[in-house]
């Protein structure tokens, strides 16, 4: 089991943010976490990454790769984060350091967590870049020279360079245009599958979720209201929240037939 | 008008709830009260000197003692408070007017005007306040007006520089674009959309300027380029007694205490006012929910 969360409660001050969360991610599984803004989905991701804000308190059990994260000390957490997890963020432009080149950016996790020679590192960075579909000429570029889609490819390369077993992607496509969104989702899922890693994919968009995950959890007001195979949920949502999210996704996408009239 | 009264009451109540706000309200309230009282009454006339009782210790007749010419220290401090109140108020008004005018130029959509004003502010800000006061003293002579002009000039420049980032943020925002598109004149956009959105920085900066004007008055008067001789002010009380601090420390202590108390109060006022008067920081102003 890649991730095992039991009875997770997170409060900030006296305000409960999420309560009684149970969640599993099996090895090699792509799992979605879907909910409206303010539902607490990002807070769960932060708990998993050990990046909860200082004024938040968590209890329950969060295990990743066998290690208990609740109450883990900062050094252990940083090491686990670096070796076991990779993170992809919503706003790629803001997640990249504006004064480092793409090569330095992607190399950094290797330098921090692995004992490799410089040529070995550079070799890995080059391979990784071609995997995410960036040309070698991108190595020396700075973030402001990249488009949103390219920046997110760099983000994905940075997350995957250490061959992590778990990818946590927090709204990785929200800031991108529709065509780029689709490309990034497809890229991310195929890379995760190729590596045999597992992924937690967080989004408010069921249409994206349907493409990126096989199983999902629906979060509302800090509580898990529904979970199941993504395809089943898309066809038969049981709870009000899931119905709302699915209905919105259907309303705001073209139906297969509509799109395929021409191709057909 | 009724809503304005309600708003004021909410602001005052929010300030009162915090120790810093309460302290500043009490001290500043006393300051204004004493200034007003001094217009009609002081224990002794400022001109009343008693040659037989110079440098006397506090007594029933002279609660804070007398100074080197036998004048009542309390009376001079009371009268001085209104001079400093006027200097502080006018300095703040001049600084706000001058500073906001500069900010308006700096965030204007005329490239040349904004570029020139930014350079101008950066250049002028390097001129020391004392130098400005000295220069102004040559044609006009030492007076409270010179202090106000020098302080207003220096604090206005500081204000402009500190406000620029938040003003720029507002000026580039979609709501300003929207207001301009609807035909709102640029000057009104500045006053209604841009200035209110610099409020947190503005109130802190202005109240600190008020405090600094008191220190400046004391410094300039000591140098002989402050309020004219014979004009009561806290700086005057300090300047006339500071030479004798080794022998008669108490006469320096009183104006020193007053200046310290008021400057601290003004600095605390800024923080308290920012937290209480900004609708984004104070939920009580936004319709009363979530008041704490």
């Amino acid at each position: 089991m890649s991730v095992e969360i039991r009875n997770l409660n997170i409060t900030i001050g006296s305000k409960p943010i999420v309560h009684d969360i149970d969640m599993d991610i099996a090895d090699g599984e792509r799992v979605g976490l879907v909910g409206s803004s303010g539902s607490g989905k990002s807070m769960i991701a932060k708990a998993l990454m050990g990046l909860l804000p200082a004024n938040a308190s968590a209890d329950g059990s969060v295990r990743a790769g066998g290690a208990q994260l609740i109450g883990a000390n900062d050094t252990d957490m940083a090491d686990l984060r670096g070796r076991y997890m990779g993170m992809v963020f919503q706003n790629p432009a803001a997640a990249l350091n504006p004064v480092t080149t793409v090569a330095q950016q992607v190399e950094l996790p290797l330098r921090l967590h692995y004992d490799l020679s410089a040529p070995e590192r550079q070799e890995r960075v080059k391979t990784m870049l071609s995997k995410v579909g960036l040309p070698e000429s991108a190595l020396g570029k700075y973030p402001h020279e990249l488009s949103g889609g390219q920046a997110q490819r760099v983000g994905i390369a940075t997350a995957l360079i250490t061959s992590p077993r778990l990818i946590i992607a927090d709204e990785p496509t929200t800031a991108l245009d529709a065509i780029t969104q689709r490309q990034i989702v497809d890229l991310l899922t195929s890379l995760v599958d190729d590596a045999g890693a597992s992924m937690l994919f967080i989004t408010h968009d069921f249409a994206v979720l349907a493409r990126a995950t096989t199983r999902c959890y629906v979060l509302e007001d800090g509580a898990m209201v529904e979970s199941g195979a993504t395809a089943d949920l898309l066809d038969h949502p049981h709870t009000e929240q899931a119905r709302k999210l699915v209905a919105a996704a259907r309303e705001l996408t073209l139906h297969r037939q509509e799109a395929e009239v021409h191709h057909g | 008008m009724a809503t304005l009264r309600v708003t004021l009451r909410v602001i005052l109540r929010s300030m009162w709830r915090r120790a810093g706000g309460r302290y500043s309200l009490i001290v500043l309230g006393l300051w204004v009260l004493v200034s007003l009282v001094s217009l009609v009454w002081t224990p002794y006339s400022l001109l009343a000197t008693d040659g037989f009782h110079v440098w006397s210790k506090p007594s029933a007749a002279h609660p804070l003692g007398t100074d080197g010419v036998g004048a009542d220290v309390l009376s001079w401090l009371m009268a001085g408070s209104r001079t400093n109140l006027i200097i502080a108020a006018l300095s703040v008004i001049v600084a706000a007017a001058f500073g906001l005018l500069l900010v308006a130029a700096m965030v204007s959509r005329h490239g040349a005007l904004s570029a020139v004003s930014v350079v101008l502010v950066d250049a002028l800000i390097s001129v020391p306040t004392v130098l400005v006061a000295l220069i102004l003293c040559v044609p006009f002579g030492a007076s409270a007006a010179v202090i106000v002009a020098a302080c207003g000039f220096a604090y206005g420049l500081n204000l402009a520089r500190i406000l620029r980032p938040s003003a720029m943020l507002a000026a580039r925002s979609a709501y300003v674009q929207s207001a301009l598109h609807s035909g709102m004149p640029a000057a009104r956009v500045f006053l209604t959309h841009i200035v209110p959105n610099t409020l947190p920085v503005l109130v802190v900066q202005l109240s600190m300027s008020a405090g600094t004007s008191i220190l400046a008055e004391a410094g300039l008067t000591y140098l002989g380029i402050g309020v004219g001789a014979g004009v009561p002010s806290w700086g005057h009380s300090l300047a006339t007694s500071v030479k004798f601090v080794g022998i008669y420390p108490l006469t320096v202590l009183w104006p020193g205490l007053v200046v310290t108390a008021v400057v601290v109060a003004l600095n605390l006022l800024g923080d308290a006012l920012r937290d209480a008067a900004d609708p984004l920081a104070n939920p009580a102003l936004r319709g009363g929910q979530d008041e704490r």
């Binding site: 529709a178 069921f206 021409h262 | 598109h181 900004d278």
Partner: protein, 256 residues
């Protein structure tokens, strides 16, 4: 055919300093008719925002002509003034398009007060309540709130109400849905549909990167790709019989 409100012809635009100048629009022709909803679709960098900002007089073209109701908006003042008085704007991020230190009611009333200076305040209040009602918000409870106390969906509906409060002939909505939660986007689309029903002669220009969000509301779609018009036509025809490979990629990207 309804009257042509806005017509842009041969529009070119470049950005950047002399050395690194980049052209973002190439000879674009576009027209907007009274009462229609035109969707301008394209990926980031397609020039869709620049084009529509030029149409609304928010930016000027390097070359080309924009006419509003027959008046060239670059010549004389009348055309541009009419356009400004008769148009409304909705932006991507509702929280940055509402002044955070203004109450919602004042923000909505602002364009009306500026354009009809003599309107008595009771009439202003009534119109504000009317437009807020139109987008599904209650003026009595929301009018005195500040934007910080609104949800994203509420704030965007307030912005829509403000855009139409002075009864514009044309409204530009630039990516008005993309910063909004998917579950709430439907509400925003409903609000747009409602303001179109309320004034059937008003034209609505919707800029988006996503065909999915505009398919129900747009009468006509203009696809921009790298600064050029890729294709344009009625929504149903464009979705079913697109001639362009790029449009087909957009369709594919918007499919579930």
């Amino acid at each position: 055919m309804a009257e042509i409100l806005l017509q842009g012809s041969g529009i070119n635009k470049s950005f950047g300093a002399r050395g690194a100048r980049r052209q973002v629009l190439f000879d674009v022709d576009v027209d907007v008719r009274a009462g229609e909803c035109l969707a301008v679709i394209g990926g980031s960098g397609s020039g869709k925002t620049t084009l529509t900002r030029i149409l609304l007089g928010l930016e000027t073209a390097d070359s080309g002509v924009v006419e509003y109701r027959g008046h060239n908006i670059a010549e004389g003042r009348q055309g541009l003034r009419m356009l400004r008085e008769e148009s409304g704007l909705v932006f991507q991020d509702p929280f940055s398009s509402l002044d955070p230190r203004w109450r919602v009611g004042s923000s909505v009333a602002e364009p009306l007060k500026l354009r009809r200076k003599k309107l008595p305040s009771a009439a202003v209040k009534q119109r504000v309540a009317e437009v807020l009602g139109l987008v599904g918000l209650d003026s009595a409870t929301l009018g005195s709130r500040y934007p910080i106390d609104l949800s994203g969906g509420q704030a965007q509906r307030v912005a829509i109400a403000r855009a139409i409060v002075a009864k514009p002939k044309v409204v530009l909505a630039d990516e008005a849905l993309s910063a909004i939660d998917v579950a709430v986007r439907v509400q925003i689309l409903d609000a747009f549909a409602a303001i179109r029903r309320a004034d059937p002669d008003m034209a609505l220009i919707m800029v988006s990167h996503d065909l999915g969000v505009v398919r129900h509301i747009a009468d006509r779609i203009l696809v921009l790709h790298e600064g050029r018009v890729e294709e344009s036509g009625p929504t149903a025809r464009l979705l079913a019989h697109s001639q362009s490979a790029y449009t087909r990629r957009l369709i594919e990207a918007a499919s579930l």
